[in-house]
């Protein structure tokens, strides 16, 4: 049976590591050089007027 202390210990340790891993992954994804072009393209693409769908 999981008691309160076990749960607290788990969330305090595991929680720290998974949040740090998450943060590193997100920063890496955001600043990955090969993603730069896609992101800039996406930001620009919504400005172009186009009022019909491609499909």
């Amino acid at each position: 049976m999981i008691d309160h202390d076990t749960l607290v210990a788990f969330s305090k340790s595991y929680g720290l590591f998974y949040l740090m891993a998450m943060a590193i992954t997100v920063v890496a994804y955001t600043f990955w050089p090969s993603n730069k072009e896609r992101f800039e393209e996406a930001a620009k693409s919504i400005i172009d007027d186009e009022d019909t769908p491609c499909r």
């Binding site: 998450m22 997100v26 896609r38 992101f39 400005i47 769908p53 491609c54």
Partner: protein, 550 residues
């Protein structure tokens, strides 16, 4: 509307409406002798009325294949109008309860007119009726444009929009009847909650099915925010509403949680409703309509991504700051406080990103009230997220909690951020989808802008003053070591601020009414133009010859 559905979709609509009507009938029969019967009847009546519409249009010609070369905007149009109507109702009831606090006797000795029943009509009316319809309407619009793909079919968007509004109707009418499960912002009872789950699953499936057919390699960030809104609201809604009804014939249910676990679950839900309903979804709106209206790409796309993951993961942990100084373990309170303070980073990323996008387009902000609505929304977003982080600090919370400061903070966010970004987006999207060069009256947009700003400022300043005075009066001791003021003393001190707040709210409501009128007139112009269209080749020629004769 029905003529846009294919024959198969019309059959599907009839089948679904028959099922809903049967469900309503079953509730009405099972709940006879209980207040549940009223809602069973309401559900059945709504379904039957809609069946008449479907049957009336059943044999209309089917839409041709050429429809697939166009975006499907009719649900967006209906959603915008519904949002504006719910906005006027929800804000109007809000101002009513504000006056009720000034004149507490204004209940006509009727149960439905008491503060406890009217207040959730206001909160659900503005959050779910106004905000929710605006989110659904704009999300369909943004999703199609950013994916360059039409919605997957014609029936499911209507199912989501109509089903969602049925939920709102059950919710609001239930509060007046006294049906509530007493969970703030999650008051509707078990049958309404189950219905919303069905609607929400279909909503998410529309998103996935459209994105699967998208023509753009990258999913634009606005869609991430909208999807986080849909997905997380589903999780929150299901977990917080886990309950067992007394019987299938009773409106009353009991929560699966009790004690401090119940409180924690409720505020995990409550604060994430702020995060994902009132923030993530509206950030999606902002990241599409603001760059689009300003004609400039977002200042930093990378910042919008970092902000997205920051907001989605940190907000999850912030809820416990609603339970400072309670039976909740101290470390959980501290955890909530810590994450709330860290939240300032992604929140300000979004606010700064919006304002920096406008940097270089300030002349447009000056001339265009629509863009100014969005700009001011970003400013209030920055202000209220800073205030929220500050108030989550335990020592600050000891002064602010249970006072009007909280009410002021909520309204800085709800009026200043949520409502202003919504009005800005609606003024941008209405001319686009109704194919008009501009709104019916730019002057009225301008009037609406200044009414909103004035109303918000009056409201927020009144509540700041009121809240801090209230907090200080509750913690002032006299020389004998007892409280210097009774509770009623603090109420008397609040009264001038309650009057000011109700006036500020009134300005905001008047603004919303002006907005509804402006939207309505724009639609009328659009339909008048369509009606005139066949005469177009004749009329200009005639007009020219008349002028020449003069």
């Amino acid at each position: 509307m029905i003529s846009e559905l294919t024959r198969g979709e019309r059959r599907l609509a009839l089948a679904v409406l028959t099922a809903v009507a049967t469900f309503g009938l079953a509730l009405a029969i099972a709940g006879r002798g209980d207040i549940l019967a009223v809602h069973g009847g309401l559900i059945m009546a709504s379904a039957v009325i809609l069946m008449f519409f479907v049957i009336a249009g059943f044999y209309a010609p089917e839409p041709g294949e050429e429809r697939l070369a166009q975006y499907y905007d009719t649900p967006t149009k209906a959603g915008v109008v519904l949002a504006m109507i719910w906005g006027v109702i929800g804000m109007g009831v809000g101002d009513w309860v504000a006056w009720l606090l000034v004149y507490p006797d204004m209940t006509f000795d009727a149960a439905w007119a008491s503060f406890g029943r009217l207040r959730p009509v206001h909160t659900s009316g503005v959050i779910f009726g106004f905000g929710g319809n605006a989110l659904i309407a704009t999300s369909f619009h943004v999703l199609q444009r950013t994916s360059r793909a039409r919605l997957p079919d014609q029936f499911s968007p209507w199912f989501v929009l109509v089903g969602y509004n049925l939920f709102c109707l059950i919710a609001a009418s239930g509060y007046l009847l006294g049906i509530t499960q007493s969970k703030e912002y999650a008051e509707p009872e078990w049958y309404a909650d189950l219905w919303l789950v069905v609607v929400w699953v279909v909503y998410f499936s529309i998103y996935l099915r459209t994105l699967m057919r998208r023509q753009e390699p990258h999913i634009y960030v606005a869609n991430w925010y909208y999807m986080a809104f849909i997905l997380v609201v589903a999780i929150l809604h299901i977990v917080n509403n886990l309950a067992v009804p007394i019987s299938f014939g009773s409106a009353k249910s009991y929560s699966a949680f009790s004690g401090v676990q119940d409180a924690m679950t409720q505020w995990w839900y409550g604060h994430n409703a702020v995060a994902f309903f009132l923030t993530a979804g509206f950030l999606g709106m902002m990241y599409y309509y603001l760059p689009k209206r300003a004609g400039r790409p977002v200042f930093s796309y990378r910042m919008s991504i970092l902000g997205f993951w920051g907001i989605t993961f940190m907000y999850m942990w912030a809820g416990s700051h609603h339970l400072h100084y309670t039976a909740l373990p101290q470390w959980v309170q501290t955890l909530g406080m810590t994450f709330s303070i860290m939240l300032i980073v992604p929140s300000w990323m979004a606010a700064a990103n919006a304002l920096l996008t406008l940097n270089g387009a300030w002349h447009k902000v000056r001339d265009d009230a629509t863009l100014r609505f969005m700009m001011l929304a970003a400013v209030f977003y920055g202000l209220s997220t800073f205030e929220g982080s500050f108030m989550s600090i335990r020592a600050v919370n000891s002064l602010s909690h249970y006072t009007d400061w909280t009410v002021g903070h909520v309204h800085a966010g709800a009026l200043g951020w949520v409502a202003l970004i919504t009005f800005g987006s609606i003024y941008a999207v209405v001319p686009w989808v109704w194919k008009r060069p501009a709104m019916y009256s730019n002057k009225l947009v301008e009037v609406h802008f200044w009414l909103s700003l004035a109303g918000t400022l009056v409201y927020v300043f009144a509540m700041w003053n009121s809240g801090i005075i209230q907090g200080l009066m509750w913690r002032t001791y006299n020389e004998g070591g007892t409280l210097a003021y009774s509770f009623i003393d603090s109420l008397v001190a609040m009264r001038p601020y309650y009057i000011a707040r109700a006036i500020g709210g009134l300005l905001f409501v008047i603004g919303a009414v002006v907005g509804l009128y402006n939207v309505w007139m724009t639609i009328r112009e659009a339909s008048a133009e369509r009606a005139d269209a066949p005469d177009a080749p004749v009329v200009p020629a005639l007009a020219r010859s008349l002028q020449a004769g003069e």
